[in-house]
């Protein structure tokens, strides 16, 4: 259970490289099946519009999972995550044609005892911030 990034080599304010994750309707269908969240707002356009949404929207947890992937790919070990929390500030709208993208950036916000650092994440889709107050606490090597 060892991260590949070393605590001593990380500085507060350091920016992590941005990454972009595509999202298509099929991803949401797969996520619905894998997670057990079958709310039709995530796969049925007609239903989503009938309850006042602009279109099918991604599961918040799908977006959160992309943020998790971003952090664990950086840290090198998913087992190094001590805490991870987000606020879903806007919806990720997923059109039928072409889908959409989620762009994630991160910055080292704090260094704490016990070799842990706090990574503050920003996730955007279609110009909107879709995650705010997104923070992962990770134990580094």
């Amino acid at each position: 259970m060892t991260a590949t990034v070393k605590y001593d080599e990380v500085e507060v304010g350091q920016e992590l490289p941005a990454k972009t994750y595509p999202v298509h309707r099929l991803d949401l269908v797969k996520y619905a099946g894998a997670s057990g969240d079958f709310n039709p707002i995530h796969w049925n356009e007609q239903f989503a519009k009938s309850v006042g949404l602009p279109d099918v929207i991604a599961h918040g947890m799908f977006t959160m999972a992309q943020g998790g992937r971003y952090v664990t790919d950086w840290a090198g070990d998913p087992g190094a995550v001590v805490e991870y929390g987000v606020r879903f500030s806007s919806m990720v709208v997923v059109p039928n044609d072409g889908g959409t993208e989620i762009e994630i950036t991160g910055v080292i916000e704090d260094k704490r005892d016990d070799n842990t650092v706090v990574v503050a994440l920003t996730a955007r889709s279609d110009g909107q911030k879709v995650l705010t107050r997104a923070k992962a606490t990770v134990r580094l090597a």
Partner: protein, 145 residues
Amino acid sequence: MALNREFIGRAFPPSEPYEVTRLKIREFADAIGDLNPVYRDPEAAKAAGHPDVIAPPTFPIVISIGGASLTDPELGLNYAMVVHGEQRFEYNRPLHAGDVVTAESTIAGIRSIGRNERLDIQTVITTVDGEHVCTAHNVIIERGA
């Protein structure tokens, strides 16, 4: 619609034991597009110091979803109007294949925010042997009509 405030503080009984399997972890990792070998290859996971393949950090949502009976009609939740507000996990360790866990949920709060209703749920995930694995804090929002 206003949610029933009598549910504030309600603790739900532990969920039926849930067995974390390699196949379910792999299905979940595939669904989020994460190809990390520690989710798929037991040898890679063991080389990284884990007893078996581990689950991605957001996997515990699969278990915590079933922990609270939000379908109780007395609560008055209109599921079609629900969106996810916030989510946070505190991990004691990652879940791994072979874990058998239960989820115990408590409704920590219900309040109105404008025309919306906000529901705070805390779920503690513990192995059947009594080892705490993680605690999930979930905020769901019922949008006002």
